[in-house]
């Protein structure tokens, strides 16, 4: 009895903690906070900018641009979800915008890759620092 009584609060605490732990373990996948997504989005965007600014290969630059677009999409979705919890009438604007961006990004990717191919056929390179036609 003593032993059982001795463990009771511990167990209760453990139960409580276990529930909290499981809650904490599942939380990111079910109801992670808005700030977390925003942070992720910011990190993605920064990585994209860094890639655009530093990589010589234009294809990688392109991919970095796609990263930046994804970051923007994530931002849209995050706020859409947030407004949904608030019961706002703006709840679906973010979704629509995201789909729109995806479509445009697809078109832009096709166009950009086409340009890159044409560029490569003409100049035999896709290095960003070797293409300085816009110099004065």
């Amino acid at each position: 009895m003593m032993i059982s009584e001795m463990w009771t609060p511990v167990l209760a605490l453990m139960q409580q903690e276990a529930g909290g732990l499981s809650q904490r373990l599942t939380q990111p996948f079910t109801q992670a906070g808005t700030p977390s997504f925003l942070f992720l989005s910011a990190i993605l965007f920064t990585v994209g900018v860094y890639g655009v600014l530093t990589r010589r290969n234009m294809i990688v630059v392109f991919m970095s641009v796609e990263l930046m677009l994804s970051a923007a999409n994530l931002n849209f979705i995050t706020f859409a979800r947030y407004w949904q919890t608030q019961g706002s009438e703006y709840a679906y604007n973010g979704h629509i915008m995201t789909i729109f961006v995806i479509v445009v990004a697809a078109a832009e990717a096709a166009l950009g890759l086409g340009l890159l191919l044409a560029l490569y056929r003409n100049r035999e390179t896709v290095a960003a620092d070797e293409i300085t036609l816009l110099k004065w």
Binding site: G33, T34, P35, V49, V52, L53, T54, V61, T85, Q86, A128, D129, I131, T132, L133, L134, K135, W136
Partner: protein, 778 residues
């Protein structure tokens, strides 16, 4: 009469046809000349028909009543006192009865209709409007009686107006022009650009008819500029003659000086009367009082009419070659002779007289302007006549004679004898056109090249050219003023009116008369000299440069062999002599249309005077009824005839009987001779005082130009230097640009973020904020 708009358009058709198609169709000279003549002839017949119809129209009581009512209304409007109109009408009505003649006190015109009876003095212009040319909208009266009282619609119509003055002009213009066109067919025979010549002549006719038929100042101005253009083209017709090009430019530029005055006058007219239509302006001008004589009247506040009149006269002096703008006319003789006859003697140069006569109600309100016109006219007449004495070029001598006669016409207008001035225009058109055509015939037949104008190489041509000689003699008698030739009646009337002028005091009239009479004598002298040198004396035509080795023609680049010495001057063909004869006949008989009734006591009516009296405003100078034969007039006439005949005799003695005398005389009177031969140094004076001043001004303007350029260049160089610096930023590396853009966006975001969220930064919160707003709603 509705078809008066056709009158100018016949020559326009000729101009377009000859100018555009004649060369391409390869038409012969006869066809081209025939078309040109035909168009002018059509205009002439239309003019005669229109004037005939108009003479009935002008006597229609209904038309007269309407014209009077319209004039009264316009006059009331010009008085600018609609509210007081009723009161004024009551006041002026007795006056209207008191002043039995003229149009004074027109508001009482119902009563006056009976007074004037059959003799109407009201202008009854007949106007045809083709279309509205310049719809300009409302503009305010800024000068004159109505200043500040509303505005008028600036609407200029392409309209033609037939009245007594324009009717007279179109008839004699088209008549003289037809014969000059005919003459030109012979004179220009063999010319390389025959069609161009006739196209220009027809263009001139179109513009001249626009000038005289135009119903408003702007229409006249179109014609005014148009005849200037045609004159320019025709003076410079001989493209290979450098002096022709110079002369055409000189004529054009000097005319611009006058046109500037005319344009200012038009602006002033609109600012005062709110319209440019002649009929309206002249009726409204009658609401203005007579202004005082003197410098004080040259101002818009005290003498609006004086200013307008002087500006109009500046335009007239430019076109009609009066002092100080006359030097272009003698130089204009570089053009072909028919041009000199048509444009620079008979028609265009009389446009100034036309305009002054047309605007006589304005001029009559300004004794200052009248005195200016009279003095300028008589001085021009005298100066040009004295220059004419020593000219050796036959056409130049005639040109100075033209300038001199134009001076007479202006003298007539200036002393209030507008009818006499216009009458002299008509007679002068006949005899001077004849003289020019005669000289053309002499030039044509007097030398192998057909271009010899120096009288030094003429002499005794009466043997070879009898028709030219006889017809020119008739015109000589006309221009010298021998009774009963045309020039006598017109010139004598001008002189008589100058002596008895009602406009100024008797002393001024006497001086004007004396100078005019002196000039008439000089005219007789130099015209006789011209005839003697050409038709009498020793035969000198074999001494001309055509017979010298290696002479060059004006028209040809290559040199000719000397002409054969068995050359004889020859009479011109019929196509040239016929105009001479017809115009010569008119030089004899035209004068009978305007015989002064003071001479005949009314036995022979003064047709010109009766015809033109409606367009002359008689408010201030009512006509005196002619009471029988006036002996003073006869004495004046006899004096001038004897004087002219005496001068002719002297000239004949000097140049035909004793040809060695003139050279001696010239040597004795060297200063006078030089003064005349060098044209009173007028060109030199103009050079020193105007041309050189303008040149110096231009040199000064170059400094301004440099300054302005420097400022502009400074901006340009600054821009360039800056761009050299800044363009190094443009590396062409895409990632540079992206970096800069990203930095910019970062700075922008940072700035915005700071602005919007600064209160959330710890320690920076405003003190008064009670609670921080909630952030996450999780």
């Amino acid at each position: 009469m509705k078809l008066i708009a056709l009158i100018p358009f016949f020559p326009l058709i000729g101009f377009v046809f000859n100018g555009v198609f004649a060369k391409r169709l390869g038409l012969s000279e006869k066809v081209i000349g025939g078309i040109a003549c035909l168009m002018v002839a059509a205009s002439f017949f239309c003019s005669v028909a229109a004037v005939y119809e108009f003479s009935h129209h002008a006597h229609d009581p209904k038309v007269i009543a309407e014209a009077k009512a319209r004039q009264a209304e316009l006059k009331a409007r010009a008085e600018g006192a609609r509210a007081e109109k009723a009161g004024m009408k009551a006041e002026t009505k007795p006056e209207g009865h008191a002043a039995k003649t003229g149009e004074h006190g027109k508001s009482g015109h119902e009563a006056k209709g009976e007074h004037t009876g059959g003799h109407e003095s009201v202008a009854t212009p007949y106007t045809v409007t083709l279309f509205e040319w310049i719809p300009g909208g409302m503009l305010n009266y800024t000068l004159g009686n109505n200043a500040g009282k509303g505005g008028a619609d600036f609407s200029v119509k392409w309209a033609y107006q037939l009245d007594q003055l324009s009717g007279l002009y179109i008839v004699f213009i088209t008549f003289v022009a037809f014969f000059i066109h005919l003459f030109a067919i012979g004179y220009m025979h063999g010319d390389k650009s025959f069609h161009r010549f006739f196209a220009y002549l027809n263009l001139f006719m179109f513009m001249m008819l626009n000038l005289v038929l135009g119903a408003n100042f702007l229409m006249t101005f179109v014609g005014w500029e148009g005849v200037g253009l045609a004159s320019y083209l025709l003076i410079g017709y001989y493209l290979k003659k450098p002096e022709a090009g110079q002369a055409s430019k000189k004529a054009f530029v000097m005319n611009r000086v006058g046109d500037f005055g005319l344009m200012l006058a038009m602006m002033a007219v609109f600012a005062i009367f709110g319209t440019l239509d002649y009929a309206d302006v002249m009726a409204m001008a009658q609401a203005y009082p007579q202004e005082t004589l003197g410098w004080a009247s040259i101002s818009f506040t005290t003498g609006a009419m004086t200013v307008i009149a002087l500006l109009i006269f500046l335009g007239a002096a430019g076109k009609s070659a009066q002092i100080p703008l006359y030097t272009w006319l003698p130089d204009a003789m570089a053009g072909p002779t028919p041009v000199s006859a048509l444009i620079h003697a008979a028609t265009m140069v009389t446009a100034g007289v036309y305009l002054v006569a047309r605007c006589n109600p304005i001029f009559q309100r300004s004794p200052t302007a009248m005195l200016t016109v009279a003095i300028v006219g008589v001085l021009t007449a005298f100066v040009a006549a004295t220059i004419g004495i020593t000219q050796t070029d036959i056409k130049k001598a005639l040109a100075y004679s033209t300038v001199s006669q134009l001076g007479f016409m202006f003298l007539g207008c200036g002393v209030g004898a507008f009818v006499a001035g216009v009458f002299h225009v008509v007679t002068h058109a006949f005899f001077k056109a004849q003289l020019f055509l005669g000289s053309g015939s002499v030039i044509h037949g007097g030398s192998p090249s057909g271009h010899q104008q120096e009288m030094a190489y003429y002499g005794n041509f009466r043997k070879y050219m009898p028709i030219t000689f006889i017809t020119m003699m008739l015109s000589l008698l006309a221009i010298c003023g021998i009774i009963p030739f045309a020039g006598f009646f017109s010139k004598d009337e001008i002189l008589a009116k100058a002596l008895h002028t009602p406009v100024f005091g008797h002393e001024i009239g006497l001086i004007l008369y004396a100078v005019g009479l002196l000039t008439a004598g000089v005219t007789a002298f130099y015209m006789t000299r011209l005839m003697c040198l050409t038709f009498f004396g020793k035969e000198r035509f074999l001494e001309g440069p055509d017979f010298q080795e290696g002479h060059g023609h004006h028209d040809d680049d290559h040199h000719h062999a000397p002409a054969s010495k068995d050359f004889h001057p020859h009479e011109s063909p019929l196509v040239m002599t016929l105009p001479l004869m017809v115009l010569g006949a008119f030089a004899v008989f035209a004068g009978f249309a305007g015989v002064s009734e003071e001479l005949t006591g009314g036995a022979l009516p003064n047709y010109i005077h009766h015809w033109l009296s409606p367009i002359v405003d008689s408010t201030f100078y009512p006509e005196k009824a002619v009471k029988g034969i006036n002996s003073t007039e006869w004495i004046l006439s006899i004096v001038s005839v004897v004087w002219a005949a005496a001068m002719m005799a002297v000239a004949f003695y000097l140049y035909a009987v004793k040809p060695e005398l003139p050279a001696k005389l010239a040597a004795t009177l060297k200063p006078l001779y030089t003064l005349s031969y060098r044209k009173w140094f007028w060109d030199e004076i103009l050079d020193v005082h105007f041309v050189n001043v303008m040149k110096r001004f231009n040199t000064g303007a170059w400094g301004v130009d440099f300054l302005v350029d420097s400022v502009v260049n400074l901006f340009a160089w600054t821009t360039r230097a800056t761009s050299v610096l800044i363009r190094t930023a443009q590396t062409g590396l895409m990632q540079n640009y992206v970096l800069v853009m990203a930095l910019g966006v970062f700075l922008l975001m940072a700035g915005m973020g700071y602005t919007f969220f600064k209160e959330f930064i710890p320690g920076n919160a405003p003190k008064a904020v009670p609670t921080a707003p909630a952030t996450s709603q999780r």
